[in-house]
């Protein structure tokens, strides 16, 4: 269109399509050792934390995107340092996402084939998308979200009939502690979406009913995610789900309609590449927005190339031993997401409030004329 802006719905669609990738890998597996049966509740309890973090980031980002707000708030050097921190974290997440996607595709049944083939093919498609316009990527993201929701809906809907409520309940207060700790981990998983506020500069402002819109999408997505966890746990039970590498895809293996299709785990895994591509694309576009603040405009066309090449190199090099990527995905990344997605924005927001108040005070001081 005349402008290259995306709408708020498209932003939220990108968020949830992207978060579905780490969510399918980590939830409920990450939460089960601590919370056991209460893993599904942990996701529900993580929703307020996620909404608050989203609100903090959103109000910091305002209309210009988070990068510009941070540099505007903290000044060129300190703000640049903070943005650089986010850039490094973004590159790390990109490498991790590419690596995990390639590993999942390799393990799903393509018994042979090298890791680097899957890695390179996903990286090539990601580069193609990352070089284009955000509006085109956002439209594609909406369709990806539709495909993912349909697939997940079919898998979980068909397994709903075998779910047993006694595997989910009862939960009582004694489990509150572990469940709350697990809620933090769940919030860390949903924190993969922390790079979306960097794209706020490209969002068309609709004006009306803004808060209801964010609340609907944020809360709705978290509730759907927890419903999915409930179905998975109701089917497999907490103990078995903890033993499996990937409960969601294992569920996809056993679901089916007799005589029509069965054992469609390969198709579900292949479709989940959409989620990885969306997450990777969000990271690439966020890196573009962040570096646009720091670097001169001449370098801008090369950002996507650099980001994808660095990400691919990182995916090949940073995780030498088997299982390193999964370990970091479970331990390091949720903690890092919480720190960069909640704690740091909270500090910045508090700082912004103080700054504004000081600014007001200083003006009022100046207004006291003799």
């Amino acid at each position: 269109m005349k402008d290259d802006k995306i709408s708020r719905t498209q932003l939220m669609a990108l968020l949830w399509a992207g978060v579905m990738a780490p969510a399918a890998e980590l939830l409920p597996g990450l939460l089960l050792p601590g919370a056991g049966k209460g893993a599904w509740l942990a996701v529900v309890l993580a929703a307020p934390l996620v909404l608050v973090a989203g609100w903090l980031l959103g109000s910091l980002a305002g209309r210009d995107g988070l990068a510009r707000s941070v540099t505007g708030l903290l000044g060129r050097w300190l703000g640049g340092g903070v943005v650089l921190l986010y850039i490094v974290w973004g590159l790390f997440l990109l490498s991790l996402r590419l690596r995990l996607c390639a590993q999942r595709l390799l393990a799903s049944g393509e018994r042979d084939g090298a890791l680097w083939f899957f890695l390179l093919s996903v990286a090539v498609v990601l580069l193609w998308m990352g070089r284009g316009k955000l509006a085109a990527f956002a439209r594609a993201g909406q369709l990806f979200l539709t495909a993912l929701l349909l697939t997940a809906g079919v898998v979980l809907g068909l397994s709903l009939f075998q779910a047993r409520p006694e595997r989910l309940l009862p939960l009582w207060w004694s489990e509150a502690g572990p469940v709350l700790r697990a809620a933090l981990s769940a919030a860390g998983v949903m924190g993969w979406g922390l790079f979306l506020p960097f794209l706020m500069g490209d969002v068309r402002d609709q004006g009306e009913n803004k808060n209801w819109h964010w609340l609907f999408w944020g809360l709705g997505g978290a509730l759907l995610l927890s419903a999915a966890q409930a179905v998975i746990l109701g089917n497999l039970g907490a103990a078995l789900a903890a033993r499996l590498d990937n409960p969601f895809f294992a569920l996809a293996k056993s679901v089916g309609v007799e005589g029509a299709f069965q054992r469609v785990e390969g198709v579900v895994t292949a479709l989940w590449t959409f989620a990885d591509l969306t997450m990777g694309g969000v990271l690439v576009f966020a890196l573009r927005a962040m570096t646009a603040e720091l670097l001169p405009p001449k370098a801008l066309p090369w950002i996507s190339w650099t980001a994808v090449v660095l990400g691919t190199a990182g995916a090949l090099v940073l995780f030498p031993a088997a299982g390193t990527a999964e370990l970091w995905n479970r331990r390091l990344v949720p903690a890092g997401n919480l720190a960069l997605g909640f704690l740091l924005p909270a500090l910045l927001w508090v700082g912004e409030r103080l700054f504004r108040r000081k600014g007001k005070n200083s003006i009022s001081c100046m207004r006291k004329p003799a």
Binding site: F118, G132, P170, W172, S174, E175, L240, E265
Partner: protein, 369 residues
Amino acid sequence: MKYARVGGGLCAASPLPAILALCLLLTGCSGLPTAREMGDMALLRTLGVDPSPAGVSVTGSTGPRAKGLQGDREPALTLSADRESLSGACLAMQGQSDSFVFFGYVDQLLVGEELAKEGVRPVLDYFSRDAELGLGAQLWLVQGASARDALSAGGDEGVDARLETIQNDSKMGIANLTRTAGAVYTDLLELGSAYVPALSPAGEGGAVLAEQGYGVLKGDVLAGFLEGEAAKGVELLAGGSSADVLDVELAEGPVSVKVTSACTKSRLEFQGEVPSALKLTCKVEVRLLEYRTRPDGQGLESLRTEASRRERVRLEGALEQLRAWGTDCAGLGAKAGMFHPDRWQAVQADWPEYFSKVPVEIQVEVKVR
């Protein structure tokens, strides 16, 4: 073109790099996954596992195979291997056939009685982790024989047709309940015990596999078998109809009824923190099948009484066995515990002992349609 280039066009400055890359891909030195031709595959449908001196013995059987367009029938292929581990045995089976042995269609898993006594968890773990096998396979215990014997019982036709028939019949309610390996594994981990349908070779020379009630696993080893009336009792507890026809002698003449559905609700009563009683309410629906004159009023009442008495006997028989073993494989405690979350949390770990000791009150309600 003076219009801005919109959308995804690749930088086609020169197609040469892309062509070179494509040529590189098409040579052998690429990481492409290998395609496998289906014409050269043996599709295993049933797998049987037994213990053996070497470690474990795995037997696999395809169903009847067809060859060519006209579908000329070939006999079923049965492969077996004895190795230290399951994966070793499965790999050995690859080498025994001139086709590629594909495990992705294994729908039935037979576990021999001996292996069940040693522990089924390694088998279930293998099924859950392998890329081709899955926990959606139906699990059967073979009583009185090894899984290899049961598989060989199929002869040229293989056994999976028979097993599939039993599976379909059970869905329609005219055979024993069937369970998937995943459901059994979940029960083992959640409840500590599980019931598995049992088969045994019957007929002349063991040519046919007949249903033989249920085997009960505790922990992951076999606790015992439930046959006959006790097996029907377990079905009532677990909630499912099965092939069961009751013949009742009434004043008007003999009447046959079929049990169409059964549902057991359980409630726990606590004394302080300790469970004091387990109340079971079993609602059974029966349908009139054969009768000389349609019973009504008094006849129906006596029919109901007699049916509920028979069902109660079954329930008591099954419960007696289960309590002797300390296995609550129907999840009665878990279902009851949902209503007392705080007390159930404390009791849950010791529930098998309580299950053996707590008095059980059974109430049967029969509805005649």
